[in-house]
């Protein structure tokens, strides 16, 4: 596999960092553009003028705007996001606690998406235009159109309410009868994760399937697939080793769009299942107008996505040798 040249990695890092700075500026402008709401939300009418002044001072709202901007940019990059008025806790603490949970849930659905999707997409692309291709593709689109929270309710109704196999919420059993051992804890968490991951995977897999199916359609007509067949390679060998391997390249870059789509899904699902993750945090924060928390969670999610994008770029070099990074021929 080609190794990536340091030069290209440096370029990608620079661009990613630039993107994060731009997002922070956008965030800063967005929050500040709200007329007065930033303060009204945090000060109740019965507060004394001194208390209001203290809060303004603490959030540095009296300083000139550019000064606030510089402080904001520096603080955020150091990770101190300030203090949450509604949760009465340092925001960094909240995020440190909830980020891993969201990553587990999000990771599970993402994996399901990039395994099932391309697999089905490969077969549909290979059977091109046949009856099987039409029916599975149409039903795939139908599943893609189901609202995630609605299907989640139906699953809860079936598996929890009627059959009672799987828990319908939270991350661990609230009042366990059994002692907590590492195995029983992980088993319990897995059981709690099962329903959210299944209910979202029903929708998530279609995204990558669509990309894979279109690229497979083009690759199947290529000359190197024809030569592979002429070489006497078995049909499975041609489909997987020659066709799918090439069709995977755009799927890898397409997966990035999938990342954002699945992150949104987890925001909804965390609410349906009362799963104590970042999604849950941001929704409650917005509804209670707790802007510092919203701002912080939004920033951390953006960094997560930019990081995933970097991973995709690196994966790209291993998938497609034509990308000669850095060195000009």
């Amino acid at each position: 596999m080609t190794r990536i040249s340091a030069k290209y990695l440096a370029q990608r890092l620079v661009v990613s960092y630039l993107t994060i700075l731009l997002i922070m500026t956008l965030l800063f402008a967005l929050v500040r553009s709200m007329p007065g709401s930033f303060i009204d939300m945090m000060t109740s009418p019965d507060m004394t003028q001194a208390q209001v002044q203290r809060i303004r001072q603490e959030w540095g709202l009296n300083q000139p705007l550019w000064q606030q901007y510089i402080d904001f940019m520096i603080n955020y990059q150091l990770g101190n996001f300030g203090w949450s008025p509604t949760r009465i806790a340092p925001i960094w603490q909240l995020i440190k606690q909830r980020l891993p949970r969201t990553v587990i849930l999000f990771g599970g659905t993402y994996l399901a998406g990039i395994v099932i999707g391309p697999l089905v997409g490969m077969y549909l692309g290979w059977w091109r235009g046949s009856k099987k291709d039409q029916t599975i593709f149409t039903s795939g689109l139908l599943m893609y159109s189901i609202p995630s929270f609605w299907i989640a309710w139906l699953f809860i109704w079936a598996f929890n309410y009627e059959l009672g196999w799987l828990p319908s919420g939270y991350m661990v059993t609230q009042f366990p009868e059994f002692a907590w051992t590492p195995i029983s804890l992980s088993v319990d968490i897995l059981r709690h994760l099962a329903l959210p991951i299944i209910s979202f995977s029903v929708i998530g897999w279609v995204g990558t399937m669509l990309v894979m199916r279109t690229t497979m359609n083009d690759v199947v007509d290529s000359d190197y697939v024809f030569l592979a067949e002429a070489k006497g390679v078995s049909e499975r060998g041609v489909m997987i080793k020659h066709a799918a391997r090439n069709a995977l390249i755009p799927v890898a870059t397409g997966a990035l769009v999938g990342v954002v789509f699945i992150l949104d899904g987890s925001v909804v699902l965390e609410n349906v299942f009362n799963y104590p993750g970042m999604g849950n945090l941001i929704v409650t924060a917005v509804l209670n107008s707790d802007y510092p928390v919203t701002q912080a969670v939004f920033f951390v999610m953006a960094v997560l996505i930019v990081f995933m994008r970097l991973l995709t770029d690196v994966a790209y070099t291993y998938l497609d040798p034509r990308i000669k990074f850095g060195e000009e021929e």
Binding site: P147, F149, V260, F261
Partner: protein, 321 residues
Amino acid sequence: MATEESEFTWFDAVKDRWSHRYERFQRGWGRFTNHRMGTVGLLILVFFSLWALFPEVFAPHSPQWKAYLGPTGEGRMTLEQVESLPHPPAFGDPFFAPLGTTDGGTGVMTLMVYGAKTALYIGFAAGALSSLVGVPLGLISGFYGDTWIDETIQRIADVVYSLPFLPLVIVLVAVRGITTTNIILAIVLRSWINNCIIIRGETLSLKEHAYVDSAKVAGASDTRIVFRHILPHVLPLSFVYLAQDAAFAILTQASLAYLGLADFTAYSWGLMLQNIQARGYIFDAFWWLIPPGLAITLVAAAFYFIGFSMEDVANPQRTQE
């Protein structure tokens, strides 16, 4: 004599100019309809559009109708009448409610019919708006490639693709007020860049064609080249993405409604689901839970169906042979 004869040529000229465009449309329509999926999608859309345009005709009652209290909805219900709500589908004995009622006594069928307008409105508006913004920008940045316009669009795309979409929409809607237009604007903020990038790619490849060079050699201005030679090829493709953005917008509106950010002033299926959840009847009133979810799925699927079968009609290579 001359005028009569010249009139004939004028009519003949117009017929001659438009006849082949009509016949070409027929051929395109033929290709579109032989995709069963496309036709099914179209039928669903037509069905729900009728609901959206003439709700009074299709809804069994007016929205004010209440169970037991008749069309105006005044008066009070007896205790056990209130107990019986949300009432399962009834065909005449206490009242006529094909899909049963909500816990407040309103007919579910009526709410469904009046909810269609919001879904379609959001779908078409978001799709059209993101195309209106995305296509011209894509054309320009594609045609005048590798100049500063192109670089900026590339950077904007980097940023927009790295924004967590739903949190962004939630913040925007919460900040600027929960109205349908705000929801559409928030959705379009994200989806226009999709159109722009795709149209840009298509324009970059189309402008290499020899017939564009030939127009340049004949002295055609840039605008003429873009609108006469490139746009006709790119337009069908933008319809494909218009349909997909519409579906995405409807699903996003439903998620927002679920999260409590639905526009309470308008009837919408998302709002119905939000109500059922708020009042805790999810597992008790299936006739109230299933229809709205199903309707959202069908409309979104209809847009996707049309979008993907349009793709076959739209892209020139495939229809060449």
